[in-house]
């Protein structure tokens, strides 16, 4: 890569946007890139809007805080678009030219003609996939939704390697140094309880990552 890529992940509390950002940033670091990751919480409530931001670059990143001008927008739940459960309106606010949007939806949510026009003008690439469905079917739990989203991201951007992603996942859930906080810790425990072994958790979640690519669809704007 030759320039900084800024990613905004919008979802609902409990869907793993923070964890997805962590794993992605960590994977980028493993690939020798530079990354910063930061979440923005309202308060740590499940199903409330939650956003996190990842910046990936070949060189040192100083900027922090909200990603106001994303190159990639990942939307983990259609309610982000349809119910306004996000910090920015419209959902593609600030998207850079030739930007990418990936939405977790069975069918792409209805968007207005004006929005379509704006997206077309940006030459935006829109993708969608039933990430939660993939997570349930392949990973056995909807808590793997974020992994499906990362699978889609990898498929579209090729920004980090699958190996690095796997290693990051292993580190995150391997019971090593990482200690999750409050609500995240609670969900971690639920996730771990779905699998007999950590190795199984990692294998199945990586299967979700791979399966996500297959169910990814492009959505033509107007």
């Amino acid at each position: 890569m030759n320039k900084k890529v800024s990613i905004r992940m919008s979802g609902l509390g409990g869907q793993g946007v923070v964890t997805a950002a962590h794993i992605l940033g960590s994977a980028a670091t493993r690939d020798g890139l530079v990354s910063t990751v930061n979440p923005f919480f309202g308060a740590e409530k499940r199903l409330a809007p939650a956003e996190s931001y990842v910046r990936i670059s070949p060189v040192q990143i100083h900027e922090r805080g909200e990603v106001l001008f994303p190159d990639v927008i990942m939307i983990f739940h259609p309610h982000v678009i349809t119910m306004g459960k996000c910090y920015t309106m419209p959902f593609f606010d600030g998207l850079q030219k030739d930007g990418v949007i990936i939405v977790n939806a069975d069918v792409f949510p209805e968007i207005s003609a004006d929005d379509c026009q704006a997206l077309a003008k940006l030459n935006a690439k829109l993708y969608y996939l039933p990430a939660t469905k993939v997570a349930l079917e392949v990973g056995g739990t909807e808590l793997a939704t974020n992994m499906a989203m990362l699978g889609a991201f990898l498929n579209v951007t090729k920004l980090v390697s699958v190996e690095a992603l796997k290693d990051s996942l292993a580190e995150r859930f391997g019971g090593g140094k990482f200690v999750a906080s409050g609500t995240t810790a609670a969900l971690d425990d639920v996730l771990r309880s779905k699998y007999e072994k950590v190795s199984q958790l990692i294998e199945q979640n990586m299967a979700v990552v791979e399966a996500a690519g297959a169910s990814l669809r492009e959505f033509a704007v107007c």
């Binding site: 960590s26 670091t29 930061n38 200690v179 906080s181």
Partner: protein
């Protein structure tokens, strides 16, 4: 728990081989405290600080800290911290935002009582309506409490400054509290690369008998010793005693300059100091400025940067020196009142044009473009 051996602070800070970890600011706090040979820590929840003190609690459970508990409110926590420090142990706590203000009475008295407490302040909004988001307004209130104020730009600074703070605070001729300030969320919750020393070394322990005031343990003289008596002009005791006491607190902060310079390298860092336009900032505003400066350079604009690491004591002379050639100084800030611009203006004594802003607050992010706009304006004037 890993067996740790005591090493010279200089070795821990500068020589020991460091490992790079991809961690949050809160985790950086834990790693600093793990190596700080802290005896005791006291906590109370307040976003965005809580996570740091959870993690400190975890290393207490692992055995790195001897005593740890949750107090009932921030004023109580800061009071218990004072009691512990008077009892002669190395003690750490953290707070932020409304917690800072709830505890406020404690801070000037920490300084007045010569307590070498180290406290991390994870800043956030303090005004009504309630906000948990980053905002450095509380620092304006802290400027004149008498405590030393270091402002971390990122997690690396946070990790380093906490460790260095103990060494600075505990110098017998300093021996006043050090606050390590950091922008909540922008640093505490941001995951970044941080280089940290190995876990099997730690700082030398605190020696309470070198303190400039007697430790309260009934093991050292004088026995007839009250911390800290109020001085009234009722019985030949002059107000001069109180005034002299206060001067001594100011003097202690002055004496810290040399130690801050020793451990942190300097009170401020300047880049491209001959430039006509200089940005002067602290905390996250420095990071945002770096991005703006990069863009400005691509446009051919000549911009320099001053990162203030110590706000109390304030590096007045150093700032004058590094802005000597500037025609304009831009002070971007994460608060609505612009306290840093006031400080900079006072230091530069109207010799340079000081632009107070851009400013964002209430949790808003500062786009580097805002700073860039200001650079363009100043460069073209």
């Amino acid at each position: 728990m890993i067996e740790q051996k005591v090493v010279a602070p200089e070795y821990l800070f500068n020589e020991a081989e460091r490992e790079e970890q991809f961690i949050t600011g809160s985790e950086a706090v834990r790693e600093a405290i793990r190596r700080a040979n802290v005896d005791m820590a006291i906590s109370y929840p307040i976003t965005p600080q809580s996570e740091s003190m959870h993690l400190v609690g975890d290393i207490y459970a692992e055995g790195y800290i001897k005593e740890y508990f949750r107090g009932e409110n921030e004023f109580a926590v800061m009071s218990s911290v004072a009691g512990a420090a008077m009892g002669g142990v190395r003690v750490f706590t953290a707070t932020g935002g409304p917690g800072t203000l709830r505890a406020f009475e404690a801070f000037p008295t920490w300084a007045g009582a010569r307590l070498p407490v180290v406290c991390a302040f994870m800043t956030r909004g303090i005004n009504s309506p309630l906000s948990i988001q980053p905002d450095t307004l509380e620092m304006a209130y802290m400027l004149d409490t008498g405590i030393i104020m270091l402002h971390a730009e990122n997690s690396q600074d946070l990790y380093d400054m906490i460790l260095q703070a103990f060494m600075i605070a505990e110098k017998p001729e300093v021996h006043i509290p050090v606050g390590v300030f950091v922008d909540g969320f922008f640093v505490t919750h941001t995951r970044d690369r941080v280089k940290i020393a190995p876990p099997d070394i730690k700082l030398p322990p605190y020696n309470p008998y070198s303190a400039p005031v007697p430790v309260m343990d009934m093991e050292n003289p004088p026995i007839r010793q009250m911390r800290d008596p109020f001085v009234m002009k009722s019985n030949f005791i002059s107000y001069a005693a109180h005034a002299s006491w206060q001067q001594e607190i100011l003097a202690a902060a002055e004496r810290s300059r040399r130690h801050i310079a020793h451990y942190l390298g300097s009170l401020l860092e300047a880049e491209n100091e001959n430039a006509q336009v200089m940005i002067v900032a602290s905390g996250t505003a420095v990071s945002q400025s770096r991005e703006a400066i990069e863009s400005a350079r691509q446009e051919g604009l000549d911009v320099g940067l001053v990162k203030l690491k110590s706000l109390r004591p304030f590096p007045t002379e150093e700032l004058k020196a590094v802005t000597a050639n500037a025609k304009a100084v831009i002070v971007p800030e994460f608060n609505r009142v612009g306290w840093l611009a006031r400080e900079v203006r006072a230091a530069l004594e109207a010799k340079v044009k000081v632009v107070g802003g851009p400013r964002v607050f209430g949790g808003m992010t500062m786009p580097p473009d805002l700073i860039l706009d200001e650079i363009r304006r100043c460069a073209n004037e």
